[in-house]
């Protein structure tokens, strides 16, 4: 757990980075909302912005990579 990060977004919501990986030069992560343990998202980080991913094909490609970095 000690190597995990917590992100605060501009809407003041906080997320735990459960896993992250770099794929094709882009940082991807799997995050869980701190005050709601039902909300998990795949996301990509570009500069200081985070964008949620909904492309199922990309999610399928990322999942094994993220699994290995839990």
């Amino acid at each position: 757990m000690e190597d995990k990060f917590i992100l605060t977004l501009e809407d003041n919501n906080k997320y735990l980075v459960i896993s992250k990986t770099i794929y094709n030069g882009i940082t991807y992560c799997y995050i869980g909302k701190l005050d709601d343990n039902t909300q998990y998202h795949f996301a990509q980080i570009i500069n200081d912005n985070i964008e949620l991913i909904t492309d199922q094909n990309l999610i399928n490609e990322l999942t094994p990579l993220l699994v290995d970095n839990i």
Binding site: M1, E2, D3, K4, F5, I6, L7, T8, L9, E10, D11, L16, I18, S19, Y30, I31, G32, K33, L34, D35, N37, T38, Q39, Y40, H41, F42, I45, D48, N49, I50, E51, L52, T54, Q56, I59, N60, T63, P64, L65, L66, V67, D68, I70
Partner: protein, 138 residues
């Protein structure tokens, strides 16, 4: 959405004076890490989880964890297997997983989970205990 702050897990607690609040938040984060790890391991998409809603989510999470408990043929193994085959530095893990698959070696799989995914292992163990208690009291 812009990221305004990045904190290491350990640093996050530094400003919390109230010990009870510190414990509460630690437990909450551990819960998120375990459930999130389990769902990720099972290859579930975030969209599917969100669409199920709160009550259903708990059922889904429990089912996922229980299915992982019999991980010899579970999605955990499949996901790891796919990844591991592509990475030379995980050769030993690949060999362990392959051996567990071939021989149904529960003890070795347990050791693997404890070493590689301790949070998940604890979640699995707790859920199995809960299931056993439920079964005994029915």
């Amino acid at each position: 959405m812009k990221i305004t702050k990045v904190e290491k897990y350990g640093k996050y607690y530094e400003n919390l004076v109230d010990e009870n609040e510190r414990k509460r938040q630690k437990a909450q984060i551990a819960s998120i890490a375990s459930l999130g790890g389990a769902t990720l391991l099972a290859g579930l998409s975030a969209t599917n989880i969100i669409n199920t809603g709160n009550a259903d989510f708990l059922t889904v999470a429990r089912d996922v964890i229980l299915s992982l408990a019999s991980a010899y043929s579970g999605l955990l193994v499949n996901a790891s297997f796919t990844e591991l085959t592509t990475r030379e530095n995980k050769k030993k893990d690949y060999q362990i997983l392959t051996h567990c698959l071939k021989t149904n070696d529960g003890e070795m799989m347990t050791q693997f989970l404890q070493t590689k995914y301790p949070g998940l292992y604890t979640a699995i163990e707790n859920n199995i205990k809960n299931q056993m208690i439920e079964g005994m009291t029915k």
